[in-house]
Amino acid sequence: MNWGEFFAMNGYAWYIWGSYGMALLIFIIEIVMVRHRRALILQQLHLMRNAEDDMT
């Protein structure tokens, strides 16, 4: 079996790769968003901590 034939999926390429592509996109977006959320809250916690250190 050659790769060209495999990717063509017997004419259903758009539908199949569209599905798996969207799945990949969603998983990546979700992970990026969660990581971003974590970075934001950690940054905020650093700020809070530094502010406390300045006071003491």
Partner: protein
């Protein structure tokens, strides 16, 4: 000796435990994805009726089933939080919601892409697709309600009640949609379930496990963020290595 389960229901203990669990779930999800896709694309034979298009099933079915399952798990956590006033359960519920909503969306998207070559239309008012759409609405309602209440405790409790009402309603909605569908003799695809090839089944179950583990991993990551956001004034948070750095 009895295990003190309440120890694990304290956010500070769970934060660390979740951090340790995430890599395990994430890596096993990744491995299962690779295995599942290999079985799905290289081992499973071409279907006689649907040709290659049926291979969308390997992502569509897990996404659909898990989006429904996650809703029930979410409602369960929410109910625990409402009844026993355990904050961690409510946090888990709100951590699961976005993942469930994304999977519901994925299920609709892949359903449409599967429907086009099979039925000749992107969208068909099939009972299962319609129920999935309503499920997505229920998720969006939960997320919107939680987001629009400022007081976190009220947000948890109000959206918990909504999730419980939703989960009681899901069977009624599903039944009514099914009823409506048969009444109108709408399109309904039944995959040749009985004659499904063993490799197809294996591929689907592997992918289902993979998506499940992925969902656990990503919602654990999210609940860790939520714990930090909610507990930002607590002593133990400021003593964390990642905060001290």
């Amino acid at each position: 000796m009895a295990i003190n389960w309440f120890k694990y229901s304290s956010p500070s203990t769970f934060y660390g435990a979740a951090g340790k669990m995430v890599p395990w779930f994430a890596w096993s999800a990744a491995i299962l994805f690779v295995v599942g896709l290999y079985i799905g694309f290289f081992v499973a034979p071409t279907d006689i009726q649907q040709s290659e298009a049926y291979r969308i099933m390997f992502i569509h079915v897990p996404a659909s089933i898990l989006s429904m399952f996650i809703y029930l798990v979410m409602a369960g956590y929410a109910a625990l939080g409402l009844i026993f006033n355990t904050r961690l359960s409510s946090m888990m519920a709100s951590a699961l919601a976005p993942t469930g909503a994304l999977l519901a969306f994925l299920s609709l998207w892949t359903g449409a892409l599967w429907g086009k070559p099979m039925w000749g239309a992107w969208w068909v008012w099939d009972a299962r697709l319609t129920s999935e759409l309503i499920l997505l609405f229920l998720y969006l309602g939960f997320i919107a309600l939680h987001a629009s209440i400022d007081d976190p405790r009220r947000a948890d409790r109000a959206s918990a009640l909504l999730a419980i009402i939703g989960s009681v309603n899901v069977p009624i909605i599903y039944f009514s949609v099914q009823w409506w569908n048969t009444l109108h003799q709408g399109a309904s695809v039944k995959f040749t379930g009985t004659s499904m090839h063993v490799a197809m089944q294996q591929g689907m179950y592997t992918m289902m496990m993979a998506v499940w583990l992925y969902a656990i991993a990503v919602s654990l990551l999210r609940v860790r963020c939520i714990i930090l956001e909610r507990e930002c004034k607590a002593q133990w948070v400021s003593e964390l290595a990642e905060v001290k750095r």
